[in-house]
Each structure stands twice: as structure tokens, then as C-alpha cells.
Amino acid sequence: MFDSFEHLIDAVSSPVTIFTFATAVFILFVTFPRQLTSKWVSLGTLFLVLAFFGIGLTDEHFRKIVSTPDNVPIVGLMFIFGYFTWFAMKKAVENDRRIEKGEPTVEQLETNDKVLVFPYLIFIEFVIALAYGAMLVIWSLWLKAPLEEPANPTVSPNPSKAPWYFLGLQEMLVYFDPWIAGVLLPTFIIIGLCAIPYIDRDPANSGFYCYKARRAVIIAYLFGFWILWILLIIMGTFLRGPNWNFFGPFEVWNVHKVVPLVNVNLSEIVFIKWLGVGLPKQWFIREWPGFAVLFLYFAIPPAVLARTALKDVYKKLEPTRYLVLVILLLVMIALPIKMYLRWAFNLKYLVAIPEFFFNI
């Protein structure tokens, strides 16, 4: 019935298009938060998403993928996270409007007194925990845990998927060397999240939802959370099939799908394609273009930004904290940059030294 629609979606789905589309929606959302959280736009979006799911459910393959016990939480997660992001933004926009007019914020209207954690907050949390426990019991009765046969080291299931909360990491492994995607970047994520309160120590504008006053921070956070984590989890869950090939949402998971994935390293592009000479033997000569690119990437933006766009930030944070902030941001942005380099130029590694298991 909706065949042509489904074919169209499958035809345009690829890691590039989906990633770009999501980024575009994200940019729209953070640029026009007031318009996009208004009643009709919100309801319209909700309707479109539900319609997409409704149409999708008429497709056998789509139905199977979204109703696998492993994947049901991810469907829920999309809606729940979407809702909370919308909710926070809606409140923030409302407060921004009030602050502009010099009115008290919504939270200040409620009460200006301090409220004790115990018993007020704890009590609410306790009730929620009870409800949550009950829900989990029912859930576990309804959807069976997907247990498989005993592990066998010589047989990897196809596709082999990490638990859902690690699918973002698994997706990153497609673009980065294991020690970067599996060790370095997760460490950066954790350290970065821990560092937030030390980098941003400004107590102004805390205690209520707001957007305008903390725009840069909120955008940076939401980008990392939604695009670089949740989106990758969604792609890993629903769109990665056998052999970790990419499949459209309505495309049947064919084990024999062939997708050419031939990649080249930066050194090969520079020495073979541009200079027309062979690859140098020594790795330090062979890889200097990659090292140069990396050096420029981490040296120039901090210096330039400190004098231009982030001048005020630089003043406020002082050199050390400023550097930490910029380096963290650069590492975060490096992920989509590398993904686009792969899609656009089939670039595998900037620096590739298999002799030492060192690739970037």
C-alpha cells in the first residue's frame, strides 16, 4: 500500500543522509526554539512521527525490527528523550520571554523558598521507583529476555551487536581505531561530563529553565547527546544489519548485501595520488601529513577562537580552563568530521602506523 513511500525512504537512507538530516533538524531546533516548540508545530511533528511509525508497522520487516525485545526500549527512548527535550526547551523559552519582560520565572512564581530534599523530593522519587518497579515486572513478563545459546568464541552472531547503550560506541568503531573509539573517546566523554561543573562555575541563571543565557552550553551538550550518542544508538539498533552493513528502515536484512567499503589512508592520498611517488618506507616520513593535520587542528582553533568568537569565554575562564574546554569541544567535533571525511573521501586514517597499532 505504501510501497513506493517505503522504497523512497530506503533509497535515500544512508549513514550520510540520516546523519545530515538529523543535524539539520537539530540546527533548526536550536535556532528557532520558540517556533518549534509552539503548539501546532509540536503537534504536527508528533503526528508526522506517529504517521511514519504507523505506515512502518504495515511493513513486515519494520515491524519485526521495532518489536524485537532488544529494540523495544530504543523505540521508547526516542519518544521519551524527545519529549523531555521538548519539555525543557518549552519551559526555557517561556522563561526567556518572562525575563525579557522583567517578570519572575515560572519557577520563581511557584515558590521562592528553599524546599528540603527530604522528605519532599525523596517521597516523589520513592513513588516513582515503586511505579517503575511494577512496570519492569510487567515488562519482563511480557517481553522475554533474548537469551541465546552458550557463547562460542569461534562463532560471532551476524550481526553482532553490543548492548544498546554501547551501540553508539560500536558505531564509532566503524570510523576510528579501536583504542580511540573504545578507550580514548569514552574516557573523554566521562572526563568531559565530570568537568562541566568545574568549567562553568557561573551560578547565574541556575535554578530555572532558560535558553538564551546559556545558549552555547545547551547547544554543545544537546549536540553531543542527541546527535553523537542517541542518533548513533538509533542507527546501530535499527539500521545496522548483517556484516554491519547499513540497511534502510524497510529494507530486508540480506546477508549477501555487498557494499564496497574500500578506504584509503591520508598518506596514500598524499604520496600516491597527489605527489605520484610511492609510499615512503619509514613511518615518520610516511605519516607526517597526518601529524601535521592533527597538529593544526588542535593548535590553531584554540588560538584563533580565543581572539575572536570565544573572546569573552577566554577572559572568563582563564587559560587552563579555556584550554580544557576547547580541547574537549574539538575532540567532540572530531567525531562527525571523521565520519564526513570517510563518507566524502573514503578516508580511513589520518595517521596510520600499523607497525605500532597506532592509527588515528
Partner: protein, 160 residues
């Protein structure tokens, strides 16, 4: 209690505390090493060279020893079934004529050379030789890595 006596009690307490902690830790460490390990022998006899078809990838030892036997016109080599990316077991796809890893999509030619996906280096080869009775002997304790130029080593390849 005078000062010296106090100090000596104090020292005793620290020593016993240290001993107890050390003891507990050493037990924990011991726990990390299994009592029995079931490791398949590292070398095995893989039958006669003629058991293998020229041009084919043979999977009969994959399950038990983690080895693919590949026979070309020149001879036989034993490829490791461990993906050089993160160690999943790739599948041999006969139609596509390549090894393909289900975890992050690395692909390897029949030779073991990586050509697609994130795997940083080719699959490893094991030492291969003949026993006196003419059978193939695979020794998994010795590996040959292409990127180190070790595939030129005569032990990595059985001419037949």
C-alpha cells in the same frame, strides 16, 4: 601508657592491618587465574594436502582450532579466524569471495589482506609444515604478520 609503648602498639596495629590487607588482596589476585584451563593444543595435524581443494577456503578447523585453510595454485596457508580489529570471528562468504566480520564490517581478501572496514591490518597466518608421514602440521604458537613482512617466511606457507 608511655609514648614508646603507644608507638609500638601503633606499629603493631599497622603491621597487622597491612598483613591482613595484603593477604586479602593476594587471594583476590589468585582468583584472577583459573584453576583449570581448557585450552586446545596449539598445534594439530590437519590431514593431507590433497584433502584441500585448490582455490578453496576450508572451514573444517574453524570451530575447533580457529583456523582457515586456504589452498591456492602455489600452496597452502593457515589463516587465523580472529579479526584484527577487535577479535570477532569473521565469516567466509563464498559468493563474494571475501571474509567479512559481523561486528564492524571489516572485510579481508582470501589472502587475509584487509581491504575494507576498520580492521587495521591483515589476518595473521600460522606456522604450517609437514610431518614425517606427509600430514600438514599447524602450529598456532607461531604467527606471521604481513605488515611486518613475515609472510615471506617459508614457514608461513606450504608449497605443494
Amino acid at each position: 601508657m608511655n609514648r614508646r609503648k603507644f608507638l609500638s602498639w601503633f606499629g603493631l596495629a599497622w603491621v597487622s592491618f597491612g598483613a591482613a590487607t595484603g593477604g586479602a588482596l593476594s587471594i583476590v589476585l589468585r582468583f584472577l587465574f583459573p584453576n583449570v584451563v581448557f585450552e586446545p593444543p596449539t598445534s594439530f595435524k590437519a590431514g593431507l594436502p590433497d584433502d584441500y581443494e585448490v582455490g578453496g577456503v576450508d572451514e573444517r578447523w574453524k570451530e575447533k582450532f580457529g583456523v582457515w585453510m586456504v589452498r591456492t595454485a602455489e600452496g597452502i596457508y593457515a589463516l587465523s579466524t580472529i579479526c584484527t580489529h577487535l577479535g570477532c570471528t569473521p565469516n567466509w562468504l563464498t559468493n563474494e569471495n571475501k571474509f567479512k566480520c559481523p561486528c564492524h564490517g571489516s572485510g579481508f581478501y582470501k589472502t587475509g589482506i584487509n581491504f575494507e572496514g576498520p580492521a587495521p591490518r591483515p589476518l595473521e597466518r600460522y606456522r604450517i609444515g609437514l610431518t614425517e608421514d606427509g600430514q600438514i602440521l599447524i602450529d598456532k604458537s607461531k604467527k606471521f604478520q604481513q605488515e611486518k613482512g613475515e609472510w615471506n617466511n617459508p614457514e608461513s606457507f606450504l608449497v605443494c
